[in-house]
């Protein structure tokens, strides 16, 4: 692994690259390629084909007259030119903005987005000054996303890593099928939040709707306000000192620390009476095995 360079990887086919990285037992087709990185490389957690961008190089894209595809292609073009800070102006609720960015980048959306904003990202730091529609941050792998206003339903669905933060309230089914990372909600969340959650943490500073954590396999949910009802197999657990420290650190980091601290938060975990999901993520296997 240590002797393999990014340049070597770039020259390989998808299948060869996977095998070279030790993923020989998995049948890889289509988009199932899992990418491991050289732990000794100076630029860890970047894709071999990612662009070398400079955060101090800033540009704006006026999205008003552009389609979603044109906006997302323009982001890639600007990254290719080395821009590390990109501001999207006049988004006006367009869907699927900023989807699939696999690069380090500071992306600022000056306004509100529609559905599927910032989905499938791996690495960028994103700030959205308005609100977002359904499925913001769906399947995100890494990076930070901060939404200044409210968000729609299925916020952070199936996300696997990174921090997804909404300072306002979010809709229903927040973190459905969450597989990792952290979701933080400054306000309330709706019904069935944490439904089938598998990993990661969710923090709701306000109230949670009915059936919180329904059928969750694993993961942890912290709620600062009232919980209307717990879902099937979701149970309350004791808030540990480690939880308090983690909550304090995370909420302080995003300016959402309640005046009264974090002692009042309720911790919800899986009762594990229905099903115990204990498969490790590939990166975790690597650490343990």
């Amino acid at each position: 692994m240590a002797s393999m360079t990014d340049e070597d990887l770039k020259q390989m086919s998808q299948d060869e690259r996977a095998k070279a990285l030790g993923m020989t037992t998995e049948q890889l087709t289509g988009k199932s390629l899992y990418i491991e990185f050289d732990p000794e490389a100076s630029e860890r957690y970047t894709y071999p084909w990612s662009h070398d961008v400079d955060f101090n190089k800033r540009t704006e894209i006026d999205t008003d007259a552009l389609s979603t595809t044109e906006v997302n292609n323009a982001i890639r073009e600007r990254m290719k030119e080395g821009y590390g800070t990109i501001v999207l102006k006049n988004p006006r609720g367009k869907h699927s903005l900023g989807v699939g960015i696999l690069n380090k980048l500071n992306l600022i959306v000056d306004g509100s987005c529609g559905y599927f904003a910032i989905g499938l990202i791996d690495g960028p730091n994103v700030r959205i000054t308005g609100r977002v529609g359904w499925s913001c941050g769906e399947n995100m792998m890494a990076g930070t996303v901060v939404i200044e206003k409210n968000a729609g339903s299925t916020f952070g669905a199936a996300m696997r890593g990174g921090d997804l933060v909404c300072r306002g309230s979010v809709g229903s089914r927040t973190g459905i099928d969450q597989k990792g990372g952290t979701i933080i909600v400054g306000g309330d969340t709706g019904a069935l939040s944490g439904f089938m959650m598998q990993r990661g943490r969710m923090v709701v500073c306000g109230n949670a709707g009915k059936n919180l954590g329904d059928s969750m396999y694993d993961g942890t949910i912290f709620v600062g306000g009232e919980i209307r009802s717990l879902g099937v197999d979701a149970i309350e657990a004791e808030l540990t000192d480690l939880d308090r420290q983690w909550l304090t650190r995370k909420l302080t980091q995003y300016g959402l620390m309640p005046d009264k601290g974090v002692d009042h938060f309720t911790k919800v975990v899986a009762g594990k009476q229905l099903w115990n999901y204990d498969n490790l993520e590939p990166s975790e296997k690597k650490l343990i095995l």
Binding site: S112, G133, N150
Partner: protein, 311 residues
């Protein structure tokens, strides 16, 4: 999928025709099959606006016979109106198969409406002092142009872009639905009603008529039934969450109110904007941004949420 939208101006009239067109056109991708409007103009006490269709759009390709048939149907409708004591103040043939009447009528408009609908192929789309219900095949700009909606002034309106799933692509299955025979009440819906047939039979046993097999029509009939029994709009919306099964978000408009209800699963979207003088809502934010491009705050109503606003 379908898209729904609604807006209500508090205490003033505005160009709701063009506002609704902008919102519905922004939702075209949610349903391109048909587009419908229920817009509310300034109420004219004593006068009624009746919109009706005397054929389906697709019927017009059936040869010369359909034109003769339409003439016969219109003559029958006007004879029934005359017999019921209604005075026709104006008649506009907006398309060959869609007409708009302004009537003065002192009697029971419900009885007259039932008689009119006995004419084969005729469906009253709406009747009321303020309500005008327009629906046809095509997107919002096509329907708006066809029916001259760009200058329509009023206080509020609801609309729908339809992706046909469980019933045909035709005008009778398009939304909105008028809450026949309850004047000035209309409904648009996004979702699927799973106890449709049970509820439909229950409503039919109580004497209500259905013109289509579209599950959304049930909500109009259900609302009409409740309102005619003295139940308030808000209570009817709240009651529907317990009695109607399925996933749904629907909007109901009356002469001076606009209401919304969201089912217990909250599986169908709605984005809501509220200010002191305007409330706007739609399946997607992009529709609200079509009339309010400036930065605004919007929210998602939660499961089992019911709201009613006054014009």
């Amino acid at each position: 999928m379908c898209g729904i939208a609604g807006l209500i101006h508090k205490g003033k009239s505005a160009n709701v025709g063009s506002e609704m067109t902008a919102m519905l056109q922004a939702l075209k991708h949610r349903g391109p099959d048909s587009t419908g409007y229920a817009v509310y103009g300034e109420p004219t006490e004593g006068d009624y606006v009746m919109r009706l269709k005397v054929a389906e759009a697709e019927d017009m390709g059936k040869g010369r016979g359909i034109h003769k048939l339409i003439e016969t149907r219109i003559a029958d409708v006007e004879e029934i109106m005359e017999d019921a004591g209604a005075k026709v103040k104006s008649r506009d043939a907006v398309t060959e198969y869609a007409l708009r009447y302004v009537l003065s009528h002192a009697g029971n408009t419900g009885d007259m409406a039932k008689s009119i609908e006995e004419v084969e192929g005729v469906e009253i789309l709406s009747m009321g002092n303020g309500l005008e219900l327009i629906k046809d095949l095509g997107d919002a700009t096509v329907v708006s142009e066809m029916y001259g909606l760009k200058d329509f002034k009023g206080t509020h309106g609801i609309g729908h872009t339809r992706m046909a799933t469980e019933s045909d692509v035709d005008i009778k299955s398009a939304h909105p639905y008028w809450a026949f025979p309850y004047n000035d009440v209309s409904v648009v819906h996004n979702g699927q009603i799973t106890n449709y047939w049970i509820m439909r039979r229950e409503m039919e046993r109580k004497g209500h008529r259905f013109m289509s097999n579209c599950d959304s029509e049930l909500l109009a009939v259900y609302t009409a039934h409740n309102l005619s029994n003295g139940i308030s709009l808000e209570d009817s919306l709240r009651q529907s969450i317990d009695e109607i099964d399925g996933v749904f978000t629907y909007l109901v408009a009356t002469k001076d109110q606009l209401g919304m209800a969201k089912d217990t699963m909250a599986a169908k979207p709605l984005v809501l904007y509220e200010s002191d003088d305007l409330i706007a809502m739609a399946s997607e934010e992009v529709a609200i941004r079509a009339i309010l491009p400036e930065e605004i705050d919007t929210t998602d109503p939660y499961d089992e949420e019911v709201r009613v606003w006054q014009a």
